[in-house]
């Protein structure tokens, strides 16, 4: 009753009309904006992205590495003996940062700049094999001068020479290497010798983890199935993946991890897992019952490599540092601290002088038998990589 009679006011219709017009205009603009989107290819070539080297005049170097990957002085964590010795000897000021925590994350960080041939303000970055292969394939890395790397030429381990993504050893120089194999905690379970046991033994059910790193987990599974991780067919990959899927679905595998399995293995929440040798050596130093196992069927050998990205302006200084770390005495000093596999021949003899116990540790200086059954995962082109990674992620759940 109290409602006013609705006048034939043009207000409402006009407002609706205006809204409609504005709405469709916004839609049109957005649509044309979207239509103009799309990205260019990210690949660069030596011709499309030229870098200059100012090492002659600038005695500086920016070195990005992973955490806890360089020796520090005992009692003073801020001092880095081998790096300081290099600076004294060469007069090159090194700015060292530990800002790489994850290959994929770091790639996400540098991707846009390098795709557009812009500098990332780093002269050396350290990336794992497969990521090194990817950035090399994208043409984002400077070629080094082998003549300025005499120690690398002399001392690089034979098994790390001529890798498929760097046949001449002038793109990616190994910093440290490691093995991906099995580990178990002897406090909560008996010995675990094979991949088969890890995936099927009933007493391990729900107390097993595997690495989220496709190449390490799948490489071990491929080798366990009698295939060569360095050269396999898609059918063989599917067969190995099927085994993994069964282990996930049955609840045998609890989850897929990065480095974070280490604490759980030490606590005994997980009894056995796919693990990296470097982590396990550090755990074993605190509890002897945590053991690393290199299955007879094969272990995966990986390296983290030093690369000089495009537009880095101190390639010469970077080469000087790389070559310095391939002096056996320096390499031994570094290996004594980081406990990874040392990629430098002759370092073992130098280690005898530093720490005889470490010199005989096969996880730092692997014996020929271990080296013979260590494999490097096949280099994948982009299509294959995406196919395998997607299939693997379907099982991992990401």
């Amino acid at each position: 009753m109290r409602d006013r009679p609705h006048p034939l006011s043009p207000r409402l219709p006009r407002r609706t009309l205006l809204r409609g017009v504005a709405g469709s205009a916004a839609l049109l603009v957005t649509g044309s904006l979207l239509g103009a989107c799309g990205t260019k290819g990210a690949r660069q070539t030596e011709a499309s992205c030229v870098s200059e080297d100012l090492s002659g005049t600038e005695k500086t170097l920016v070195f990005s590495n992973w955490p806890q990957y360089l020796d520090v002085a005992e009692g003073d964590e801020s001092r880095r003996p081998t790096l300081e010795a290099f600076q004294r000897r060469s007069g090159i000021q090194v700015s060292y940062t530990e800002d790489i925590n994850d290959n994929n994350e770091f790639f996400g960080k540098i991707r846009n700049q390098l795709a557009a041939c812009q500098p990332i303000d780093r002269d050396i970055i350290v990336l794992s094999d497969w990521m090194a292969a990817r950035v090399i394939d994208l043409g984002w890395v400077q070629r080094l001068d082998a003549g300025r790397l005499p120690n690398v030429g002399r001392n690089l381990l034979t098994s790390l020479r001529g890798r498929s993504y760097d046949p001449d050893n002038v793109l990616a120089i190994p910093w440290q290497s490691g093995l991906a194999g099995l580990a178990y905690n002897g406090r909560v379970t008996g010995e675990v010798r094979t991949v088969e046991e890890l995936l099927t033994r009933p007493d391990l059910k729900g107390r097993v983890t595997a690495l989220a790193e496709m190449r390490d987990t799948m490489g071990l599974l491929l080798a366990a199935g009698g295939h060569d991780p360095a050269n396999f067919t898609p059918a063989q990959f599917d067969e190995a993946l099927e085994k993994l899927r069964r282990a996930v679905e049955s609840g045998q595998i609890r989850r897929f991890t990065g480095n974070d399995y280490a604490a759980e293995l030490a606590r005994g929440d997980i009894a056995a897992c796919v693990a990296w040798s470097g982590d396990v050596i550090q755990l074993a130093a605190e509890d002897q019952r945590v053991r690393f196992v290199a299955p007879d069927s094969g272990v995966m050998l990986y390296s983290d490599n030093m690369l000089v990205p495009n537009r880095a302006t101190h390639r010469g200084n970077a080469e000087a540092l790389m070559d310095y770390y391939y002096e056996p005495a320096v390499a031994a000093q570094l290996a004594a601290y980081v406990n990874y596999i040392c990629p430098v021949q002759g370092a073992q003899a130098e280690m005898e002088k530093l720490d005889p116990a470490l010199a005989t540790n096969p996880l730092i200086f692997p014996d020929p038998a271990l080296l013979a059954r260590s494999k490097v995962f096949m280099a994948l082109d982009e299509t294959r990589e995406r196919e395998y990674e997607s299939k693997f992620q379907q099982v991992v759940g990401g």
Binding site: N104, E105, L138, I253, R254, G397, G398
Partner: protein, 285 residues
């Protein structure tokens, strides 16, 4: 004349910084995301992506990862419900019964947020570990099988989600309960309402704005959360956030990652609008 002219301009000037911020950091990325979700799925980082209006990316993404999408809403809904059941009595006591302890209790609610989100989630790993006190107690009470565990189960993920977002539930509830006029409660009592009736007819309806705000502040971030599922769950507990993370960083399938992100945003938006319509402030209805 000049006065009224300036008066008309000032509100727009005041809006400008916020608007610029939104355009730059929300609208532009959102448009970019929507565009990416329609790129040709056959493209790649190396060869580039062409805009082909591939709406098929959406059904493809749902077909591949519908389970994780559903799980996200399930876990987040459950966590929101638990947070409401835990948070309401807590906020009620703090607002109406705590007296001089009020501020201390509020600080206690907020205190965990002084440490990083990641550290708190990692702490749950220790709390729920197989050899820990919680699992031991539950086993002794036969609520858990002798070889049962909490870590790497949905229970662990939902528990930790509830914990993480509980303060976001408690604070708005507290704010709305604190404004409650005690005279209304007294009046209800005078009119012979039993305490349960007072709560149902007076307290609860008057605190609805808090309930709405709290559930939204809990539900929205919980749906997109991936840290809890990653650290406390297994692949079987992974939520859509984990899938998007892997699509962008590991698999490098940008169109699919973007399609899932857009889907998540739209689904949340629809749920929020639905919820506001049903339970939202009366003025809006």
């Amino acid at each position: 004349m000049s006065r009224s002219g300036r008066g008309r301009v000032v509100p727009y000037l005041l809006l400008l910084p916020g608007l610029l911020w939104l355009v730059l950091f929300f609208l532009a990325p959102a448009v970019q995301l929507a565009a990416t979700s329609l790129y040709d799925p056959a493209g790649s980082l190396t060869s580039g992506y062409a805009m082909t209006w591939s709406f098929g990316n959406y059904p493809d993404a749902v077909a591949a990862y519908g389970a994780q999408l559903g799980r996200s809403f399930g876990y987040a809904g459950l966590a929101t419900l638990l947070a409401l059941l835990l948070g309401y009595p807590l906020a009620y006591v703090i607002a109406l019964r705590a007296g001089r302890w009020q501020y201390l209790l509020l600080v206690c609610v907020v205190a965990p947020m002084f440490t990083s989100f990641l550290v708190r989630t990692l702490a749950w790993k220790t709390v729920l570990s197989d050899g820990g006190a919680v699992v031991g107690l539950l086993r002794d009470l036969h609520l858990l099988a002798p070889d049962g565990r909490l870590l790497a189960t949905p229970a662990a993920v939902v528990t930790s989600l509830t914990y993480c977002y509980l303060p976001f539930m408690v604070l708005p509830l507290y704010a709305s309960l604190q404004r409650l006029d005690p005279r209304l409660l007294e009046a209800a009592g005078d009119l012979f309402a039993r305490p349960a009736q007072v709560f149902r007819r007076v307290t609860l309806p008057l605190s609805m704005p808090g309930v709405v705000a709290g559930t939204l502040l809990t539900f929205i971030p919980a749906t997109g959360d991936y840290v809890n599922a990653e650290l406390l769950g297994t692949p079987n507990e992974y939520m859509v956030g984990n899938v998007i993370d892997a699509a962008f960083l590991v698999r490098l399938d940008y169109p699919q990652g973007a399609a899932l992100s857009v889907l998540l945003m739209v689904a949340i938006l629809a749920l929020v609008i639905g919820w506001l319509r049903r339970a939202g402030p009366a003025e809006a209805g």
